[in-house]
Symmetry: C2
Subunit: 258 residues, 2 copies
DNA sequence: CATTGCGTTCGATATTGTCGAACACCATTC
DNA sequence: GAATGGTGTTCGACAATATCGAACGCAATG
């Protein structure tokens, strides 16, 4: 683990990633304060990143924002995420069937990242966007993945940072979560019942690769009222079927339990 | 222009951008050959980029590919490109009306970059994808933008690199192109008639911002046979109308000429 | 069991990124 | 219109640190 990392590159990454948490343009001074480097140092970093198209300067106020090169690289990555192109048509069919928003996520580090999203026709939809991150312990998609990882792996992921609480229903006790994962593993789907946002309910199922490892998951997200006793079984069946379909398209050899 | 750029960051950018031209995973050795740096140096750069999620290593063959962080950053940029969200519904309507693929592009450096694409229902569509780049001098979208830039700017853009020829119809003489731009400016739309790919025809129109400067363009791209004398006027009118609509949504105060 | 071809580690060296200070520029203020 | 405060930007000296080559570990190959 004693890797020799190149500081300038790390600093450049720091600068770029600050923009992910700010939502607006930033001045040299603002950036230098946020990364704790001198103005002149930050200026050098910024000018280099700008020169390569990773940042761009607004000529009006001289502030900076993320550049088109990142858009170019990001879309290239998206294009080569083959699970995405495999899943997209299946997700579209599912949205048509359920009339609700469906998400596809990957596990990345200790969080999940949305890589595909198809909104349902209803106006009341969840706030989410492709590329966004969310915690694993309080999302259906996160729990669906956790439930099929090894105990050590789950332990590791849940220990990287404190388990934040978002609503009164968020589980923050590691043992409680691990027990809960068992039942998810048994029934084949995960439910997030207002654990990250009040009023929001999600039904999620895991996606496996050709080696039988979970690598992703999909979920249906909707206001709790819309997922009533009548519709719930339909949604669960639909999500599970779609997840299995995507898994099989990825070369998964298993079958649906029960 | 005598800026002091930080070499390590440039080198890291070199490494990342190599992947845009390769379409596959690369080994340390392959990368080090392509960037002309020693294996150990490249190894350091790669490990740093991997540590930050800009690259990821395939555990099977130890080769590297672009990482999820770039996907995250790229989608963030895409989300904040407001012209994109403004244009998307207008483009969708246009595709429904014309039944052909429509592209939205920005000028970036001396190339255009596709930032939105909506395929038509036909099976024979153009190969393009969001984030891709193309030259300005032989695309409808490129010429539509050039036609509304200043003479000096056009000169500068056309001089950055040699004007490559793709088909027998590609214009590579700067004076010829500049004359051609005049007629585009007069009629309000640009045509690419097999100038980048045999059989491909595009009709493009410029998009202006609130200051009246061209900042983007949209085009309809289709096999030449499908844009016959009967359909052409419809397509031209549709593209021009949509371009003006987007411009107005961006605060443009002008009107359509003639 | 040599051999080849990788990825990776390590230490010495000189390159080069960093900081503080100074400068340029544009507001606003008096 | 001089003075002020807040920017972004430039510059030189110094010390930090990225670089290279050599060596190592580990497969696969013959």
């Amino acid at each position: 683990m004693s890797e020799r990392l190149i500081q300038s590159i790390e600093r450049a990454a720091d600068v770029l990633e600050i923009f992910l948490t700010t939502n607006s343009e930033l001045s040299v001074k603002e950036i230098s304060e946020k990364v704790n480097l001198s103005k002149s140092t930050v200026h050098g970093i910024i000018k280099t990143l700008e020169h390569r198209g990773y940042l761009q300067q607004n000529p009006d106020d001289l502030k900076y924002r993320l550049g088109i090169k990142l858009f170019e690289l990001g879309n290239f990555v998206g294009k080569h995420l083959d699970i995405r192109s495999i899943a997209r048509p299946i997700i579209k069919d599912l949205v048509n069937e359920l009339n609700e928003t469906v998400h596809l996520v990957l596990l990345n580090r200790n969080e999940i990242i949305y890589i595909e999203k198809e909104d349902g026709p209803r106006t009341l939809t969840m706030y989410s966007h492709i590329g966004k991150r969310a915690p694993v312990h309080c999302t259906g998609v996160g729990k669906a993945i956790l439930a099929h990882l090894s105990d050590q792996e789950v332990d590791r992921l849940l220990s990287i940072q404190n388990l934040l609480s978002f609503t009164e229903f968020t589980m923050t006790d590691k043992e409680e979560i691990k027990n809960h994962l068992k039942s998810i593993r048994e029934c084949g789907y995960a439910v997030d019942d207002e654990e990250i946002e009040l009023g929001l309910k999600c039904i999620a199922a895991p996606i496996f690769n050709h080696q039988g490892n979970v690598i992703a998951s999909i979920s249906c997200a909707a206001p709790k009222i819309r997922l009533d006793e009548e519709r719930l079984p339909k949604v669960i069946a639909g999500i599970r079927k779609a997840a299995l379909e995507i898994s099989k398209a990825l070369g998964y050899k298993g079958v649906m339990q029960r």
